[in-house]
């Protein structure tokens, strides 16, 4: 998180924090484990009312934000959600809302945005990997599989990338479109749900978002938004785990001394603090770069993904070690955090995939 926030941002962050403390304790995460949706729609709607789904949508379409760039506000919510592991499809809903608001038709605005903004509907972003598309008159015939789609089985709308004449195109499908088969998956996180989506469907021109073959930059931007929100969430989770561990080491005594007085452990906490701050720094830089549309946004986002994923899992694993045996029990919340940061590390691009993008940029050649 930025160290200095505007008054409005500060108010938004503290309102969000209070709301989450009241409605989304980690006990709620545990209670949702066996719920198919993995989140509580009523709580989600309350979060939406606070701004959780409208910050990337212009005011004219029912959205609005507190500062110059909605993304700078939204990362505050993402980080707070990470601190408590709040359940809900923050990334997919915001990515799709942004895409529809900025590239969708008026009909799509009216049909999709109100539900996403008030929290009554959910959307899934099927990612940049395309399905095949062939033209059939005015229609497009889609076929292919979208793997591991966040909130895929909870979504009312699916934003799918398709290649039309080898050019990237975005298509918005109602989830109940004939020929769309959604298979819910089990996974590592107790409440974050993923699904595989098999598509074999014919859609009319009204399903296309923006112009056919013209969606490359929009898709890249959506990927950036997803990574920025995910990194903010991860850093929030790291922050909380670090805090818990500091408290624990201060409270727990061994051999007549608090654990926190042992230099071997002090140095571990110092290293963890350093890595925590470095993750804050690059997450903030990525959020700023994408919000402001900087020319180096892609590079900074890649750097954030390369850096934060492995350091997050390492920090949480180290904090588990510092907790001792209690850290590997179901009862303690640490594993909930570990699940989340491990899932975040590997979604919206693995660190290795993002590193490869940086290498391409550095060397000017492909592997």
């Amino acid at each position: 998180m930025e160290l200095q926030l505007s008054e409005e941002q500060d108010a938004f962050a503290s309102t969000t924090r209070r709301f989450l403390a009241a409605e989304c304790p980690t006990t709620a995460v545990r209670a949702l484990e066996h719920e198919a949706a993995g989140f509580d729609r009523a709580v989600w709607a309350q979060g939406a009312a606070l701004g959780g789904t409208s910050l990337l949508v212009p005011e004219s379409l029912g959205g609005g934000c507190f500062s110059e760039h909605g993304l700078s506000d939204l990362v505050l919510a993402a980080e707070e959600m990470g601190r408590v592991l709040a359940a809900g499809p923050l990334v997919p809903v915001n990515v799709v809302a942004e895409a529809i608001a900025h590239h969708g038709s008026e009909e799509q605005h009216q049909r999709v945005l109100p539900g996403l903004l008030d929290g009554s509907a959910v959307a899934a972003w099927c990612g940049p990997a395309p399905v095949r598309a062939t033209r059939d008159g005015e229609s497009l015939v889609l076929s292919g599989r979208c793997s591991t789609v966040e909130a895929g089985a909870q979504a009312d709308h699916l934003l799918v990338t398709a290649l039309v004449d080898d050019q990237p195109t975005q298509v918005l499908l109602p989830a109940d479109t004939p020929g769309v088969l959604v298979t819910p998956l089990d996974g590592l996180d107790l409440v974050r749900r993923f699904a595989d989506i098999d598509i074999s469907a014919t859609v009319g021109p009204e399903a296309v978002v923006g112009a056919v073959g013209d969606a490359g930059p929009a898709i890249e931007h959506q990927g950036h938004i997803a990574c920025v929100l995910q990194c903010a969430e991860t850093v929030g989770a790291m922050d909380r785990v670090f805090e818990m561990t500091l408290e624990y080491l201060g409270d727990r005594y061994s051999f007549g001394r608090p654990l926190s007085s042992y230099q071997a452990l002090k140095h571990r906490m110092a290293d963890d603090k350093m890595h925590l701050e470095s993750c804050h720094a690059i997450a903030t830089a990525a959020a700023r770069a994408v919000a402001q549309g900087s020319p180096d946004a892609d590079e900074v986002v890649n750097a954030a993904k390369v850096w934060i994923g492995p350091h997050a899992t390492e920090l949480v694993q180290d904090c588990i070690q510092l907790h001792g045996g209690i850290g590997v029990t179901w009862e303690h919340d640490l594993h909930l955090y570990l699940r989340r940061v491990t899932v975040n590390r590997a979604t919206y691009g693995t660190p290795e995939e993002h590193a490869e993008r940086i290498a391409r940029h550095l060397t000017g050649v492909t592997a």
């Binding site: 110092a270 350093m274 750097a303 290498a359 060397t363 592997a367």
Partner: protein
């Protein structure tokens, strides 16, 4: 007090940036491979570079106007630094003279001391070093044995200091000495301004792993220092030294507001291409493993740059306390170690041998790796930085110490104690 952000009575940052860009392009030579050269010729050259900045009106951006500075904000300084990265800058003046010693003088010096010393520093005429570490002391700086005995308006110093960079080629030092042996160790120290080239001071150069002779040891035999050259209060030198160390961590970490451009020739902006060059030389840029390493090396520089920005801004605004500087220092040092390791891996067998006088990029990486721990030792070892982070940034408990609250003359010392 330095302003973090530009205020209305200052030149707008973007105007300043544009003037700086034009000046730098017209005046300063491009950054070459020799920026890290530790020779005397290079040091003299850096004095000239600082003089060019002074003549052009770009020296001491954040120094007070009344002592020759520009009195501008850190935003101005950062804008200048960003513009200056393609050019050769006075790096060895930045650390330690400007970023550490002049910074400490701004904070603790009397009006007369600042008037007397700061303009000369900003003109590039005077190099300063710190005389803190002692042969017997290691990381325990406050366990200082160099003594200063008062005789009227003069202090007489006797003892020895070590690990001072280029003291032989410098003009002044800030020297920590014990003025009171009857109080616990932190409370009997005083900081002095010492002219280096004067009777009673002997400077010996120490040969380092990489063959350089930059570090020195000094011996003091009845060195006379006027009482007017005490920095801060008598017996309160630890306060001054502690702040000096904060400035040092900032300067070494690349976050000092007092430097003329970046602290080093390659800052955190990711412009250091040595490792990439080595991969290109080895013809391995398409190797998937090498590509992961190249990306990591690059990302480390980017993250380092962002961390410096975050911590220095946080410290300036008060959102982070001064010990946060240790986070930058530790990150910088561990980054050097890891990047060196990546360099060795990519350079491969190229580090072993080379045609006469042509080590190439691989040879350079190999040789640089020999002294890489220096960054993790100088300015407070990584272990000390970790103590500081845990104890002062994250809160107690402090390490147990056997010398706390007892008169220093009664503290047990090692074999070299007098």
């Amino acid at each position: 007090m330095i302003e973090t952000r530009a205020t209305d009575d200052m030149e707008p940052v973007e105007d300043f940036r544009a003037r700086a860009r034009a000046f730098l392009e017209a005046t300063m030579p491009p950054l070459g491979d020799g920026w890290n050269d530790r020779s005397d010729e290079r040091r003299d050259r850096e004095r000239e570079l600082q003089a060019l900045l002074w003549q052009g009106g770009f020296a001491g951006i954040c120094f007070p106007k009344e002592y020759g500075g520009l009195g501008l904000s850190q935003e101005h300084q950062r804008a200048f630094t960003a513009e200056s990265t393609p050019y050769d800058m006075p790096f060895s003046l930045n650390v330690p003279t400007l970023g550490i010693l002049a910074a400490t003088l701004v904070e603790f010096g009397t009006h007369d001391q600042k008037l007397r010393y700061l303009p000369g520093i900003l003109r590039g005429e005077e190099l300063w070093v710190q005389f803190l570490s002692e042969p017997s002391g290691g990381s325990d700086l406050a366990g200082c044995l160099t003594r200063a005995d008062r005789d009227g308006d003069v202090f007489m110093l006797n003892g020895s200091k070590i690990w001072s960079s280029a003291a032989y080629a410098s003009d002044y030092a800030m020297c920590l000495a014990r003025t009171n042996w009857d109080v616990p160790k932190h409370r009997g120290l005083t900081m002095f301004i010492m002219k280096i080239h004067q009777p009673g001071v002997t400077v010996e150069q120490i040969r380092q792993v990489d063959g350089t002779l930059e570090f020195c040891q000094e011996f003091f035999d009845d060195v006379q220092i006027p009482a007017s050259d005490v920095v801060g209060e008598i017996d309160d030198g630890w306060t001054v030294a502690s702040r000096l160390l904060v400035h040092e961590r900032l300067a070494v970490g690349g976050g000092s507001p007092y430097t003329s451009g970046a602290s080093f020739g390659h800052d955190g902006s990711g412009t250091d291409t040595t490792i990439l060059d080595a991969a290109q030389e080895a013809g391995t840029t398409r190797d998937p493993h090498v590509r992961q390493l190249l990306a990591e090396a690059h990302v480390r520089q980017m993250v380092g740059g962002q961390l410096v920005k975050r911590v220095t801004e946080g410290m300036a605004s008060g959102a982070l306390p001064p010990p946060a500087g240790s986070v930058i220092k530790l990150f910088g040092a561990t980054n050097v170690m890891r990047r060196s390791e990546i360099g060795l891996e990519i350079a491969g067998a190229g580090v072993v041998a080379w045609p006469a006088d042509s080590p190439g990029v691989a040879g350079d990486l190999g040789r640089a790796s020999l002294s890489r721990q220096g960054v993790s030792l100088g300015g407070g070892s990584n272990e000390i930085q970790r103590n500081i982070i845990r104890e002062r940034l994250l809160g107690r408990p402090r390490e147990a110490a056997a010398d706390r609250d007892i008169p220093y003359r009664d503290v047990r010392r090692g074999g070299s104690a007098s």
